[in-house]
Symmetry: C2
Subunit: 426 residues, 2 copies
Amino acid sequence: MKKKILYIGLLGLGTVGEGVAELLLKRKNKIKNYEFVLKSIVVKHLHKKRNISFPSNLLTSDFRKVLKDEEINTIIEVIGGIRPAKEIIIEALERKKNVITANKMLLAEAGSQIFKKAQENNCYLGVRASNIASYRLIESLSSSPSEIKKLVGIFNGTCNYILTEMERRKKDFSFILKEAQRRGYTEKDPSNDIDGYDTAHKLAVLLGLTSGYFPPLHSFLIEGIRRISYEDILFTKELGYRIKLLAIARRDNDRLEIRVHPALISRNKAISRLEGVENGIEIQDEVGVEIGMQAPGAGKYPTATAILEDLISIAKGRKITPPSDKKEVNLKKIEEVVTRYYLRFEALDKPGVLSEISGILGKYNISIQAVLQKGEKKERGKESVPVIMLTHKAREKDIQKALGEIRELSVIKEEPLLIRVEEGIF
Amino acid sequence: MKKKILYIGLLGLGTVGEGVAELLLKRKNKIKNYEFVLKSIVVKHLHKKRNISFPSNLLTSDFRKVLKDEEINTIIEVIGGIRPAKEIIIEALERKKNVITANKMLLAEAGSQIFKKAQENNCYLGVRASNIASYRLIESLSSSPSEIKKLVGIFNGTCNYILTEMERRKKDFSFILKEAQRRGYTEKDPSNDIDGYDTAHKLAVLLGLTSGYFPPLHSFLIEGIRRISYEDILFTKELGYRIKLLAIARRDNDRLEIRVHPALISRNKAISRLEGVENGIEIQDEVGVEIGMQAPGAGKYPTATAILEDLISIAKGRKITPPSDKKEVNLKKIEEVVTRYYLRFEALDKPGVLSEISGILGKYNISIQAVLQKGEKKERGKESVPVIMLTHKAREKDIQKALGEIRELSVIKEEPLLIRVEEGIF
């Protein structure tokens, strides 16, 4: 039997690209009669010092060279972002090259279009690396006879690291963020991570791959972790919770609820115990089958491993099964979501404050499960003291109306903070 | 496009078979242009009362009728056991029918042969239901560029339920087992579960599917949970551990260590927190990627869902990729395993006992990390008192030699109990 060869063009030689090159060099040949040849690597700076040295004819700064190379039948895109990644991928598919990409931002934006293009050109489209935490479940979920009823995930290692370190080191958000930036744990512009977009991209891709519906990013709530203080971590701990940035999807009869935001989750729940950069996902389906998965969410080897799994799928002759083309989804508006809430008010330390706040909440039928009042005015360097409330279940619309009135009270000194409570699965 | 039809013969209508029939009846059609038709169900007793009623022409007690039916192109085997399941599966494949099976016992015994048969006949062989806890990881693991370095799993819900209930209700093994039998939670003959064989079957199948090497059951240690007492649960709790029946595989350079036995695992570790019938698996690969999965290990809907996922894979045109045909594996002998040990000796409550025991352990270079001596002779109704020791790392061969000498001491009144300690992953 003649050996078949996969000629590979690697676009991008950052941490992940380097991991791919390294694994390609040292992997044992698991697939008989197949060889992987790394033929070209597209880099920004041809003469940059690197951890691995490559023959200079392997490197190019011109991605068109790789696209035009007819021998290259597979490209691996690890440059990220929309441009020029999108045009590269589309053109590669049109030129009948298989494509492997780690680009969740692009897939969240144009997943349907790219899958269609791959199918039209009978090419393999490998997207395992776009959600390291959950890709192992995609095949199973998209073949399941039952729909997902509920999904809860931690998909961003940077946020989980920051929240974990805030608790561990008793420090505020900005302190831990700055330190993480100094150590190179975060992107220079961390907003994609800490404002929830990266989590939202991964959730959108996961839903798209399993259900066929790629929810547009503007169609659901995306909130980040910037406003969470160490005090919030402390207060929620006292109440028996941890704060995690969660991706949540839930089917409520025919309506789909999608949201990304920080949430209080009971310290007894498995997902609250994921620490540092660890990612995880929990899923419950219509017939009650519950599964959970814990995995790294990013990193050199986890991402490179996912990419090589796609290469091996190509060698095994796997075809992509594009997600079904589902257009009609009845999305639940955030205003109609019903959940419990953690509220922090910064109020003057005066008698009657609690009664004013709870009076407004009562007016909107929001009942209170727990209250914490902390009178540590001096130590905080603020004129206000925090009033913490944990509500029973309430409708988001009612909470927002109540907050609208509460923030106008003269005793309230800052924009109130609201964090939703999530029950979790395990 | 003409609709393709999968004509299905279902062999077995126990809990799982009923679940399959139920899901087939109510599932939405996720696969365009494909229809699933349940054409025949093979049952033991034609006139038994059932939860779902089927048209009587659907039921037959003769599996040959299904095998000879040329319209039936897919059989689902959920009768279990070796005979007649094996001959049915082999004949179905020879007659070019796709086969889906939940039969881990059979796959552990004859997995290579059955996969070869499927490949020769160009049929799909679906085995997801043979290890509900881990099947979602199989595709990923068998496509990974890195070998598994370490795998730790809880694969038997009955054992995990018994161990959980022993701790929760402070009762002995036999009490909880009897109750579980009375409630129908276990098989009438529970030895397949509690003596570790079911766990061993699932581990063997998992290793076979991911590495190509199906380890024969006689080639590795299989120990069950019969000898664990409530006192052991109590003592290990005091030492910071839980006892779980674990499936363990570990690569040590070129040698593969495989074993199934109860183990102490730190209460800080994720896998120690799996309660009741819950199953789980943790894997670390050569490049350090660590993943964990929590899932039910059995049950009507989890098993039926796995079977339907295989049906949908057939409809999607997926081919099996039989595991590579790996014959040469250098298995590490149990005598050479190095780990820590929990030891319980039943000894007369006399001075000098501890010194006698520790003297023998010292002779074999086994050093002791912790000792518990409990002098509650009267309450136990035994003439002996338990002496508990937790050792530092030692070689199994040395421990066994030491136990050989210790059991001969006149102060020792029962066969010593040894439980290995496992470090776990997360």
